[in-house]
Symmetry: D2
Subunit: 452 residues, 4 copies
């Protein structure tokens, strides 16, 4: 049995005995398993992987224990995978991630157990909880500068696209902009690598590489070690809320179902009447060969949600420097808006997020089948439903629970307006063809069936 | 109406709207009053005062509001006293104290309302709460060095004694030891001033001047601005627990009832059978002319609690350098003990504190009259009861509620074993004679009556 | 033989073999002696002493060696005095001073040997050398704020005066002003101690306590350990030039001959026609009982140098806060002037210093006798000559060479205009009476004789 | 005319008027031209260029001026090339490089004018000057860790080789090793980029990317902006001496004439009898396809300098991680050796460098023709002569003066032992074939002719 002890780092270096117990297998089996699995995922730092089972299956003998010592609580890893060790020592970035997991799960366990949050329907309280988790993780920095650029995009992208995301990251970094992604490989790693070089050249010492994840996705998208702030949010909806309340600009690279979920979430919220004054630059971008890809996305949004939706973003093809310039220039407007409304620079309180987007959607065969996929409803509600479609597809593709459901009951059944179904089918088909649903090498079997 | 806005500093710079509401007068009148009064007390930084009413009475028009702004939550002071302002700008140290009050009262309000804690009789949970408050205030530092010296002693001491406390602080500072006191003037300020100079000469840049207070005492003992870590504990018992779990050594200067309370608390705990292996250097010290004072204290303890109690401390008269040398040399033993037991360097978890010392004692005429002041009980319990006597006297002397009770119902009545009553009477009498009960200039009228 | 090795600190931690040799006794006996004596003086940190012989005589067996090691050059002290050691370890501040001495004497030895500088009559080059020495010592900080307050005053002052200098320092510190003095006890230590407390309350972390000295005076006025920047200038004239080019305001406390020298130097320069636009607040201040003292100084200056000289300074008695307020308020004017003229905030290049004030004056019986002490000359020249008179008296009082000269040849003879001689005699007489020439306890025997 | 002013940064932020004058065109035309050209080169940061003329020719209207201002001396760039500007603002790294040039040329101008150094034949003084320049540039850090890895290799390498240098840099960075190169593109940039990512993952905040250059080569090999310490040494020999005295390990990637010069310099010195105890890991490495290349280098060295020379290095092909592991493991031996000999961790004083390697070699037709290229001489001397051959070829290829000489007089003539000539011819021929002499795209015309 191979054991390694990690010295404590960060805000939760010292724990009370009550807290140590909370994370032991004996006390709360579920919380412990969550903790153990997140630690295991984190140890797969940088791995090109997108299936939780590829991580969990070969490591059934992995365990994690907390040990109180005179200089704080040590984390003991039993039989950890070798990936993130350099000459026997865990990479410091990954070491920190382990303690981020500890910090967030303890906080969650003590204050925001998934259950407690699910029964709380109060929007203000949900937003408070998102804020409180981020602040506790020291992600709310109280800086004078607006510079957090959220980058979304696929984990499975080709080499040219990957280089492009690095180049965009480099150009953002040269402008002292920071990067926030959902962790994982591909478009979630490239911008951080690029920005690291850009920041180094600008001697920007406090470069932030913020990774937002949640227990269901972390194993499919392990954070890479450049991430220097890792936060595990309780569920996908709070993760999405964290993304947009923290962001001062959003860049969307080519991607698959996950990226579509994020885009629809964003558009659904920005379409809200109460958000029409909000200032948030949104750019869809990729290298030259992605032109058609973006056109098909744009077409889908135009047809499904109308031209007002299309006006919310700008498509820039093959020009990384321009992407960074637009984002940078718009920061002044974002700042002015926050100043006028007295809203925090670090957390966009004034953004209205409707309950549809906040309440956790648990994808399963009945909830998926029950989605209202018709045009006769407000655009924001349709966007919310479409977002849930893609959320379900992500779950069926890569999340443990979703994959198990599909294995047992076959693909999710989606029905609705024939035109909308057609649009969706085409879009998804193109993702499959372009190999955006799975990492290259594996054949993709759809987890959904569209019936008009 | 004179208003001043303070920019946010520290961990609670950004608040959610729920939190801002929590501290507004409209939401929770009691919590707001606590907040307002602590802020007012803090603004009396450095004042030579020992009566809450001297602060509260002339400032009925003082108010404090929270205002959300783009760079965090500002604290607005309405009609603040002028004391701590330099050319119209609040001294930075006091500015920080205001935000420490905000931080601790919010945390207390959200997690450890006085009521909630009073109904929780579980010792482990009380200790967890003490720890959690200190950690949230970033007082648990996770350092490798043991160096926190708690200094207790009177607020009302003469010039020679005050100089002596400065000199001891200087010698501790030269040895890179830090200072923790209960805030206020006299023996609680002197060691910090001295240590500041000692630290400067040693280029010890992270000198800690930790002030532990509680809402009931803060107005009678306002923190001075050198205090660079201020924590408001929920009540006197948690404050005392914080003192001894944080300390690596304790120095006790001459003082009155408060100092006696602290000393009895300490002795009562150290006498516990389960603490007999504990290592904690305790020194009673003062200038040459305090020799008789310490002899009378020592005599009282010997007679009341026996020679084992006397063995717990060392009396050093007129030798500041020796005090510092002893504390410094013993740090190695303290460290070894923590290392052997795997106990934290920063919080003495293994120290046993019996329920008698943890459960808040609310002094009033009936609780004071009910105290068991007889020899026929374990020494630790007698010490606990004696500690409560002095706690009650402090309340009757300087705390708002206590002073009001005395005004209404006359002095507290204390009865018990005649010999013990005689001992106590003599000790208290000597405090009065030596002007240790009140600041010079005011005549002391006892708030207690001893009946054999 | 008792030996102690000090680890290297600061810019000159690593030396080449050529440099190590330069400071060895074998290579350059004079430079080595200078180095050794300055080290010995520095080890008398904080001592209340004003006679070099009191330091040098009892320590004939003291030596200092340089030892190359893998982590830089260590300084080995052989038989060091015990004064500045705490439990066997040298106070860090003093440890740093040793390396400041090393740094400055090496730099001086390599670039600005006393001889080389004496033969260079070029004013621009002398000023360049003053600047280069200060920059090499990292005293030129390139900060945006103007805040360096030079404090002059006696080493031998009474308790009330000493407390007053601390209080002024405290008020300056509360306003985030820094302190520069000539090192030594009394008025050169008090402001630094006070400012340390003021800075601590304001959380002003980069407080500067700058000590400027020179090899001839350092032993009579050892730096105290609060000094966190120590620079040894080559001679008294460069030290004076450093004082005024670095200062953004000057506070003059009561003192004796040294203080008079400084004041006359300052007035002589400020009277220069080319400096009439210069902005430099100058305040003479002391506690209430110094009123008469300042009147006699003011009278002397008025009679000797005229009312324009008197207009250069303001006398403030008994109001420490006001002193600090005036200095602080005037900083804006100083800043504006520098900005308008494009002059450095950190070094007043535009101040004209005439050759009389730059060229080293070597006091001996013939140079003192040759001074032109008559009214028939420009005021600046008369001020220069008067400054030299007091410079000679300081040398005769406390500097090794001067004391030896007086011992051998009797007092210096001063002749000149009868009225001027009378004025000077009265002033000096008052210094003697007020015990400003020597530390209390020793009887002062004048080292000068005034003949009309 | 386009002008930009740069705020001062670094140790030479403040200058005296004498210094400002020193770098003005009016005072010293040669020093000014050197200053101007180095600034221009620095502004070509990151450019893929290897011919000074490509930089100088199109920028005849470029000029650089110093302007004294209240916050230090500004550098004014007149008509700077646009390359290193982001949205009109100079990249901070390049901005710093401009001030490094200023710092080093001023220091050189004041203390080590090329002329002064050329007439000084004393080895100890030359080494002192190398040390003094590095220390003045704050490159001597006085750290406890040994970690400076010098990477040499070609500016003109193919994509696979470039990626390989990045990967080696990444592996070194993961082991907290720092990188020192000669600036420029290719093998001098790759390791720094890789190490930046490795350092980020290890949270190694003080990563050093040290660039050593000299006025003759800087324009052909402009530093990239990742370089965070740039030092301009007076000439190629002092640059080489700086490389090896600073290094704790040396990695040599594929390259052309410059790399051969460096390797021969290194071997020549390490072969010195007085250096046989020296510990310095040297690794020749490249991707798989470089196997033959290294075999031909190894063959040349074996034939020309014997098997002892071959024992000095290890060839590792296609294994970046192993390269880093070897270097890392050997650090312990390097440290032990320095400790035993009391030699500095930061500057290898004990390494013997013979005069042949220290005295500047000025390549021209006569000095090249006069080289002693025969076997009948000590190996170190032959290595020195061979090093000079390659130094001359680098000059003829890329340095302004060398290129001009070749243009005027035709190729350098090299004669010597036929076998040696044959070996050299073969080696150079292989460099040409592999396009290692020039950047791809340009045809290489040899600047030398070998006659047996």
């Amino acid at each position: 049995m191979h054991k390694i002890q990690l010295n404590p780092v960060g805000v939760m270096s010292q724990l009370s005995q009550l807290e140590v117990n909370l994370l032991s297998e004996a006390t709360d089996r579920d919380l412990y398993r969550l903790f153990r699995n997140c630690c295991l995922a984190v140890l797969y730092s940088g791995a090109e992987i997108d299936n939780s089972d590829n991580i969990f299956a070969p490591h059934r003998d992995f365990a994690v224990n907390l040990i109180s010592r005179e200089r704080g609580v040590k984390v003991e890893l039993v039989n950890p995978p070798a990936l993130a060790f350099v000459d026997g020592v865990l990479i410091k970035g990954v070491h920190e991630h382990i303690f981020s997991v500890l910090r967030d799960l303890l906080h969650m366990g003590a204050k925001y157990s998934a259950e407690a949050l699910r029964v709380t329907p109060d929007s203000a309280y949900i937003t408070h909880s998102v804020f409180d988790i981020l602040r506790h993780a020291q992600t709310i920095k109280n800086t004078a500068e607006l510079n957090m650029v959220v980058c979304w995009g696929g984990h499975s992208i080709d080499t040219v696209e990957y280089k492009y995301t690095k180049e965009v990251g480099y150009q953002l970094g040269l402008r002292k902009l920071n990067i926030c992604t959902g962790c994982g490989p591909g478009a979630m790693k490239g911008p951080m690598k690029g920005a690291t070089i850009g920041h180094a050249k600008q001697r920007y010492e406090n470069g932030r590489y913020l990774g937002l994840t949640e227990p269901g996705i972390i194993a499919a998208e392990p954070p890479n070690a450049i991430v220097n702030e890792l936060v595990i949010m309780p569920d996908i909806e709070k993760r999405l809320e964290a993304f947009i309340r923290l962001s001062h600009g959003i860049v969307i690279f080519p991607g698959g179902a996950g990226t579509a979920e994020e885009l629809l979430y964003l558009i659904g919220i920005m379409l809200d009447e109460q958000n029409k004054e909000q200032v948030l630059p949104i750019i869809l971008t990729g290298p030259e060969h992605c032109k058609a890809y973006f056109e098909s996305i744009d077409y889908f949004i135009g047809e499904a949600l109308g031209p007002e939706a299309q006006k919310l973003y700008e498509i820039v093809v093959g020009r990384p420097e321009k992407v960074a310039q637009i984002i940078k220039q718009k920061q002044r407007l974002v700042k002015n808006y926050r100043k006028q409304t007295g809203d925090s620079y670090d957390f966009n309180w004034s953004l209205k997020i409707a309950a549809d987007f906040q309440i956790p959607f648990i994808p399963n065969h009945s909830s998926m089948a029950a989605l209202n996929l018709h045009f006769e409803q407000p655009k924001t509600e349709l966007a919310a439903a479409l977002r849930q479609v893609f959320s379900g597809i992500v779950a069926g593709n890569v999340k443990s629970e979703g994959v198990a459901l599909i294995k047992e009951h076959g693909p999710f059944q989606l029905t609705g307006d024939p035109k909308l179904m057609k649009l969706m089918d085409n879009l998804l088909e193109s993702f499959v063809e372009q190999q955006r649903m799975k990492l290259p090498g594996s054949k993709y079997i759809p987890c959904y069936q569209i019936t008009e």
